[in-house]
Amino acid sequence: MRYLTYLLLGTFFGIVMTKSEAISWYRILEMFRFESFHMYGIIGTAVLTGALGVALAKRFDWKTIKGEEWNLKPKDYSIPRYLFGGSIFGLGWAMTGACPGPLFTLVGQGIWAIGVIILSATVGTWVYGLLRSRLPH
């Protein structure tokens, strides 16, 4: 039952990613070429409404369904991991036109070549795990 909720939430997310066209390689190209507001509108609206909701949750101490604190732990501050890791992800995002969520959504659309990207991304994560202690964080 609990898992059904996550399945349905994921399904909703996959539909939103598709209908927003955020899964489109073309839309990501257009975004990085600053030729349309579309993607900025999506991310901007999500962040604005998200920030408003998180602020309200903190102000009124909203709890989870189990009555616990929301999972809003502050992230440890540093620069290298976010800047270097973020930039490397950015290269891949613009190259494939997809971030991890859309990659999975695209598999559902029968784009089998995406399987190569997911496999390669998994290898990338594995290699990061191997090199982790030697990278600046």
Partner: protein, 193 residues
């Protein structure tokens, strides 16, 4: 009504739905972070024997894998059950750029998705030089970069910025720095291959 669902959604509607997804997960006591699934998959595949980073109780992450499975199902439904009747409506500037670099416009390849160019994403082109560079190279950068940064678009750009986290802002600056370098400097070279 069906037109309203099947067609492309307004960016504002899409944005609100994305933050609603995040809030639903927060309300459930979880957090919105998709790329964590890649680490979980490594762990399930036995990578815990090779690096401590993968030696964790992945069962606690099962909900996220189920969420990922749902997003595949959602892609199927949105694409096959309630398909968008029209191709992606790009700006004129982007269309002209595609023409200039010889990449097909949305919907130009019959029988192939109009969300991406067949040159790189059709199965027949997987084993071309540029197909391999984009699929294998791009995938590796995504997997390596997201884990180093500790999150992707969902974890940093949406969740982290909503929670006013400076580290997430640095990560998003990185996302864009990398994205701009790829789009303006490297992709044009790949288009020429």
């Amino acid at each position: 009504m069906l037109d309203l669902i099947s067609g492309p959604w307004h960016w504002a509607v899409s944005g609100v739905f994305i933050s609603l997804t995040m809030f639903a997960l927060l309300y459930a006591g979880k957090s919105f972070g998709f790329s964590a699934n890649l680490r979980t998959i490594c762990s399930i595949a036995g990578a815990g024997k090779t690096a401590k980073f993968f030696d964790f109780d992945w069962r606690a992450q099962r909900w996220n894998l189920v969420f990922a499975a749902g997003s595949i199902l959602g892609g199927f439904i949105a694409y096959y059950v309630i398909p968008n009747p029209e191709s992606v409506q790009l700006s004129e500037a982007t269309l002209l750029y595609l023409d200039a670099v010889n990449v097909s416009r949305p919907g130009a390849t019959p029988g192939f998705s109009n969300y991406m160019p067949a040159e790189f994403f059709a199965v027949d082109n997987v084993f071309t030089l540029r197909g391999l560079i984009v699929l294998v190279g791009g995938g590796f950068l995504i997997g390596f970069g997201t884990r180093w940064a500790g999150g992707c678009t969902s974890g940093h750009a949406i969740s982290g910025l909503s929670n006013l986290q400076l580290p997430s802002l640095i990560a998003v600056v990185g996302f864009f720095a990398g994205g701009l370098v790829m789009t303006w400097l490297i992709l044009p070279l790949i288009f020429n291959l």
